[in-house]
């Protein structure tokens, strides 16, 4: 029953996405990283080739990819550039709550336009005072009769400056904790939304990250996903889907760092031979390759479980934590193998090391993933 081989179609998808990563993303990744600017030309091209919004089901105009297919795509795009991939992946993160918790009308209204032209979405969960403790959300959603009234501030919102649509989590009553959390779809033009200045970040510099403030924002009643209080369940299911995806991006980044280190180790001569001939470097490369392979297998299994209709909460967190930590280690070792050159911005591994760090933080820190895993193990 076990089969570790991608399907013929998945191999073709992978080949195409890798071609895009190598020919379109990698040549521009350093430039956009330094400019700290959204690479709109590349994102639009990726969209036109079907590489964006892979979570949208076929009945709403999507391509109808399985979760496993989208892992293959994400890994390839992250191989090209982590920052560009974050801009792409953030769309899925923001649209997944609609895919998971939306009714037919909401899906038609908000998912289908994303398949007709390149549009951008932003997921608004984290707040200045609430990151890992998402249950402590302070943004309020009050019943204003024929609409909802939203007040609060959101932090570290990817794509915020470019978003056409926000999916926002707030609470109908902070006292209710998780049970009060509710999710809304909010159009960008709704009065009362204030978009902050771009944050200056260590890595993923070409992705757009900002604070978003909601002041008496009136949202139509029909824009709530599910009913009041359904938000927590929708958010958790979203994470079951999105964590494997983030993990896949870590595998892509780690594979890229490994490939660079491998190539460099064969070229760099010290003590009369390529450094790849020295056992200390060989052991590092072996360790890196092991981590990449093991992380990829965890990603595949966590995605496969979703496609089988099974719970993947534990595996998704395992994949996320292991891949993110592995990527950090592999990228750090790649810099080490490059030596002084690795510390220079002239060479690609410096950026990979900066980019790796974020994967251990966003979408649930490596510590939060361990809490989730422990909870599942101790059940």
């Amino acid at each position: 029953m076990l089969n570790f081989e991608l399907s013929q179609e998945q191999k073709e998808i992978q080949e195409m996405a890798m071609k895009f990563a190598k020919l379109e993303m990698i040549p521009k990744s350093a430039e956009y990283d330094q400019k700290g600017e959204m690479p709109m030309e590349i994102l639009e091209k990726a969209w036109s080739l079907g590489l964006v919004n892979t979570c949208i089901p076929a009945e709403y105009g999507g391509t109808g990819f399985t979760t496993m297919d989208s892992m293959v795509i994400t890994e390839a795009l992250a191989y090209g550039c982590l920052g560009m991939n974050t801009a792409i992946m953030a769309n899925d993160l923001a649209l997944l709550p609609i895919v998971i918790g939306g009714n037919d009308e909401q899906k038609k209204k908000y998912l289908t336009p994303f398949t007709e032209s390149y549009k951008i979405a932003a997921f608004c969960l984290t707040e200045p005072g609430n990151g890992s403790d998402a249950g402590g959300i302070k943004t309020t959603i009050k019943d204003g009769g024929d609409h909802w009234i939203v007040n609060g501030q959101k932090m570290w919102i990817t794509n915020a400056g470019y978003a056409d649509v926000f999916t926002l989590y707030g609470t109908i009553d902070p006292e209710m904790k998780h049970k009060g959390i509710s999710a809304l779809i909010i159009d960008k033009d709704t009065p009362g939304i204030e978009i902050g200045a771009p944050e200056k970040k260590m890595g993923h510099c070409c992705s757009d990250t900002r604070a978003v403030t909601f002041k008496d924002v009136k949202v139509p009643k029909e824009n709530m996903l599910g009913k009041p209080g359904d938000g927590w369940a929708i958010a958790m299911k979203t994470l079951d889907h999105s964590r494997p995806m983030v993990a896949a991006s870590a595998v892509g980044g780690a594979q890229c760092a490994l490939d660079y280190a491998n190539e460099y180790a064969k070229e760099r001569i010290q003590f009369g031979k390529p450094i790849a001939g020295h056992q200390s470097i060989q052991f590092m490369l072996a360790e890196m390759a092991m981590k990449v392979e093991a992380a990829r297998l965890l990603v595949y299994k966590s995605a496969w479980l979703i496609d089988q209709g099974q719970s993947n909460t534990k595996l998704a967190s395992m994949a996320k934590a292991f891949s993110a930590d592995s990527f950090m280690q592999v990228a750090t070792d790649a810099v080490q193998i490059y030596g002084g050159y690795g510390y220079s911005k002239e060479y690609p591994v410096e950026k990979l090391m900066r980019d790796a760090k974020l994967i251990q933080i966003y979408e649930g820190t490596s510590q939060i993933q361990r809490l989730v895993i422990a909870k599942e193990v101790l059940k």
């Binding site: 073709e12 195409m16 996405a17 071609k19 895009f20 080739l49 079907g50 391509t63």
Partner: protein, 262 residues
């Protein structure tokens, strides 16, 4: 308009090619196949022509073994409508391939208005199939094409000649156009294109079906071998200024008497 594209599947440019056991061809078992890069320009031009002529179809034809159908799948994923595969070994000669392509085109049930090919395949570099095929089909052919325009049953083709000059041809259809780099920028196969490709019609024929037999072979392959390994280069140390005149004299002597290049 019935547009045809002939594609060849060739080893990936990064493949390390080795002779097979009896030296009659290359070892094909572990090769990663790709569409011949010049054929990508042919597919792209066919798709552009189709887009400009509503109701046209693009049929892609390939002769070769079936172990991997990369070239046809890529063409379909890029947007070709249907495919014809004439199954045969990978070591057919140019004449057999041209004859089999002709048969495949005829078996498709469509009469070609225009046929696009790459100007050459990057594996054997014979540069013969486009001209042979055009001759067999009794139609004109123009090769090394870098410019293409089409209007009212005529095509205007630009081809590169020595020194960077361009020759301009006006040819009435049907015509065979062998494409060169620079003609266009081949598109990516989009992901929806890849998913749709599976459902597109693919007709299979054998060599016998299209009237090609062993008697058609004009070229017998034998004695395939790797080129002899290059001897290591000689190094001369000219860093020491005092010795430079001596080193230069030695190099000149070696170039004249040993390498015999001056």
């Amino acid at each position: 308009m019935n547009i045809f594209v002939c594609v060849k599947q060739v080893p990936d440019t990064e493949t390390k090619v080795t002779p097979n056991g009896d030296g009659t061809f290359i070892e094909t078992s572990s090769i990663k196949w790709i569409m011949n890069p010049y054929d990508e320009f042919a597919v792209e031009q066919a798709l552009l022509l189709k887009a400009a002529n509503a109701g046209s179809t693009v049929t892609v034809v390939r002769v070769g073994s079936t172990q991997d159908t990369e070239a046809l799948r890529t063409a379909l994923a890029m947007g070709a409508d249907e495919a014809v595969l004439v199954e045969g070994e990978d070591n057919l000669d140019s004449y057999m391939i041209a004859k089999a392509l002709k048969g495949g085109i005829e078996k498709s049930g469509k009469t070609p208005d225009i046929i696009f090919t790459g100007k050459q395949a990057i594996d054997d570099d014979c540069l013969q199939v486009p001209q042979l095929l055009a001759q067999m089909l009794d139609m004109p052919s123009v090769s090394v094409v870098v410019g293409f325009e089409s209007a009212d049953g005529k095509v205007t083709l630009k081809r590169e000649v020595e020194g960077g000059a361009l020759e301009v041809y006006e040819v009435s259809t049907p015509v065979l156009v062998a494409c060169n780099k620079g003609l266009n920028t081949p598109r990516y196969a989009s992901l929806p294109g890849i998913m749709k490709a599976k459902k597109k019609p693919l007709q299979n024929f054998s060599l016998a079906d299209v009237g090609v037999s062993a008697d058609d072979r004009r070229l017998k392959y034998s004695n395939f071998q790797l080129p002899p390994e290059k001897p290591p280069g000689k190094k001369f140390d000219a860093m020491d200024e005092a010795k430079q005149a001596e080193v230069v004299a030695e190099v000149v002597q070696l170039l004249r008497n040993e390498a015999k290049v001056i």
